[in-house]
Subunit: 561 residues, 2 copies
Amino acid sequence: MKVLIVGGVAAGPKTASRIMRMRPDAKITIIEKGSFLSYAGCGLPYYVSGEVKQQRNLMETPAGAVRDAAFFLSVKNVTVRNGTEALEIDRQNKRVRSRVLETGEAFWASYDKLVVATGATPFIPNIPGVNSKNVFTLHGVHDAEGIKSILAEHLAKDVVIIGGGLIGVEATEAMATHGCRITIVEMLPQILNMLDWEIARLVEKHLESKGVRVLTATKALALENRDGKNDAVSHVRTDKGDLPADMVILAVGVRPNTALAKKAGLAIGATTGAIQVDDHMRTCDPDIYAVGDCVECKDRLTGLSCFVPLGSTANKQGRVAAVNICGGNDSFPGVLGSTVCKVFDFCVARTGLTESAAKALEYEVITATVPGPDKAHYMPAARPLLMKIVADKKTGKLLGVQATGPGEGAKRIDVAATAITAGMTLDDVANLDLSYAPPYAPAMDNLITAANVARNKRDGYMVGISAESVNRKMQAGEDFIFLDVRSPQEHAQVRLPNSTLIPLGALRKALSELPKDKEIITFCAISLRGYEASLILRSAGFSNVKVLDGGVAMWPYEREM
Amino acid sequence: MKVLIVGGVAAGPKTASRIMRMRPDAKITIIEKGSFLSYAGCGLPYYVSGEVKQQRNLMETPAGAVRDAAFFLSVKNVTVRNGTEALEIDRQNKRVRSRVLETGEAFWASYDKLVVATGATPFIPNIPGVNSKNVFTLHGVHDAEGIKSILAEHLAKDVVIIGGGLIGVEATEAMATHGCRITIVEMLPQILNMLDWEIARLVEKHLESKGVRVLTATKALALENRDGKNDAVSHVRTDKGDLPADMVILAVGVRPNTALAKKAGLAIGATTGAIQVDDHMRTCDPDIYAVGDCVECKDRLTGLSCFVPLGSTANKQGRVAAVNICGGNDSFPGVLGSTVCKVFDFCVARTGLTESAAKALEYEVITATVPGPDKAHYMPAARPLLMKIVADKKTGKLLGVQATGPGEGAKRIDVAATAITAGMTLDDVANLDLSYAPPYAPAMDNLITAANVARNKRDGYMVGISAESVNRKMQAGEDFIFLDVRSPQEHAQVRLPNSTLIPLGALRKALSELPKDKEIITFCAISLRGYEASLILRSAGFSNVKVLDGGVAMWPYEREM
């Protein structure tokens, strides 16, 4: 069996390795355009920051062997042709024409099975100056080296990062470790569009606390050279003003590399622009498979096509393709958009649908926004973790979860992804037997508490109101009591605007001071005491009582200090 | 509605709080024998170690309010009677007779619903000397204070901990932070009986590396006072010799407090000795509920009764009981025995069935033992994590997972617990969309890799052999080749006994040196290269090739340095 694999970064080599394990007699050739093979592209931001010391670390196996062509041949019996570009697929005759980039020599290679693993390429916005020498993407090893060489010469005081997505925020932290002054320019009203607005706002505030300027709803119009220095950008012109820039990072997303597939007439997804595959990772041609960042995925929850290029997905797809190529029967069931990224001290993670995505799909949702410590609260190692849970009101099924803060968010998101995959309801999640000991979790895990708060809302015990809605009421000059039930000490430290203090322990005795005809919105640090207060008020006959979702911890607007 | 709750530590107050949230008109009284209320018993080892600074930290809400009787009255409108013992339940007249311990005053309190939350008590082995003044359990606040006072006077150089279960190992670390020399005496052949032997052995080795002596299969026979000092133990006599002891901690498990329930004729589980409840947390008397450490649970996987007292379970049960008491309909579905504990630098966690438990239940199992870094291996923060996965050979369903090592085990165990709850198979687990970024996970999460290795075994690509079996072969003098395929550098650092070195990269060229008629057992650091080597050998016609489960990392016997 002759297998030809186009693409040697992640999904391609994974497919090759797995095939060789199942069919040691297979003849496998990998054709890779670049000079590097099987490297950890996701690790590039940490190579730029210096956390990963050497380029070769990204190419090594855990045992320290560099995964180069010699390694693939000796260990896996796989032939690799680096610096070679696949130009065209002749499906009729089952062969691929390629060209050696250095010599220009072209050749045909035949296959029994072909695997397209051509990856993705950063999107370059169509604005002036993007080709200047101090403008980079952060996609390949060469990008990282270019950025590092400028950083090494301390030539980048001001860095503008265009795009506040995953790569943008990861690049931000990498640059910040070198002492750069960083501005993120994001066209949308928020960074990290994978999150709901108020969760993204918390990440923005954290970035700001680290000295990063975050400009949302701002469009980069041109990268300009005003110093007259040789082909280097000095300013980024935006629709909100100009920004000095010694270096610019373009991080406005990636596009699947589909030229080869398109030319061969393979089906391309209409909404994603990526190569269509079935759950066996087979394209519309039964002898051609496609895997990794160039293919579209199915969302397991909605069944919709999506484009979520990730190294974790690429590896799973490579394995599935290999099994099927070797005559087995394996399926890749799709993704949930599970994502995590490190943003300075914050872990930011999500899975499934955000509230806004769920509403756009016309789900009627229950949400709960629950901050709390990620370990037993009396343990010094406990860190705040903010969770937002979204469930389907009709079925009670979990639709999505977001987590942010210094606490261990990825842990809870992985549990949530598993629960969503299984179609679990809020009730199911609330009774999961998650592991508990004070150094690892609170007795009621954060995800379980979030599910319980959502159940309280569903069952009418708690009427929540979002910070956004409260803010709108304030802007509109509505008359309501914004009731802070924290301690006087907490109130003295930081306050929400126009709030009235009655500590929870004093509330029962102060009921007569409160008017029964006014709307009351209660809150505390995390809205647990706020919830207790609302129950006391309701049992005393106050009928219009709501609880601020997530309390002071989740308030995305200005606070009084 | 009058609700009487017997027990004020964890499940009782939780039940009370939840009832008051649902039925603010309820009249709730908590009767608690001890002087403390609603405290975090699980935090006691960390109070002893000094990590938790003050006793009150264990009694505080996350907002810093002490949960005492005044707090329960003012915030929750719940009456608490501390220092009061419930003596008898008069089911006929729905009332409980109690006695105030200090005054001896007895009284009857009537109820509409009664909640028994009497907790558990440490088991005291029937050996001489257990009542001496330097012999403690680690169960209540008073125990912790007693231990701390001896530690504060630096009177405990040698500490013997009898029992190597959860409390025993947590106590070990707490004592070690005070510089004590510690010996654990465990009657069974291993500590932490919730783990398979070879996983527990790794924890024992870690304890030993921290200077702790671990004596398994050793029975404490007597606690002796040889110094003649006032009522203090000086030695622990065991069936393997005597141990000096300035302090002894008894940690041989807890027994449910069922005297009150038994006297009232409530049903008690035959195998567990704990109070029987239905999934509404109701005892055989429809007006009496029971929650927390005094009740037996259902194992979600096997349906068998079990006794797994944990704070996390107590909280969930309290909520369920409260909902049903208030006329709602909520069920507690049971547990999976999910457990985690910190043992110095190791996180030790498990869920579901161990291999030995599964075999005892006559499951035919597939297992995989997979060490690996818990984050992308090139990240400096990556830590080793050893995972063992147990699946049902017939259905492919996940039965249990164990994790140990410095890496983040609890994260993977929580995902596994969720997957087992959902009845997921190895195939399901292998394709979970878990969150991935280099600072948080490898591209293929440790649990996914473990599932894939188990799939390889199931599908015949990998024939594993346990370290135990290899060791038996060695002891029996069997003739086989123990093939180390690591690098010469790795081999020079640490070796397994009687092993032959052929680095993986050199194996294809060295095939002629190996005899085809002998059994070959391959290994590397974690048995990934060992697996590759076995495939190379098999494809070259070697028919009797096995891979050492878990490689050098999981070898529980002596190594050569």
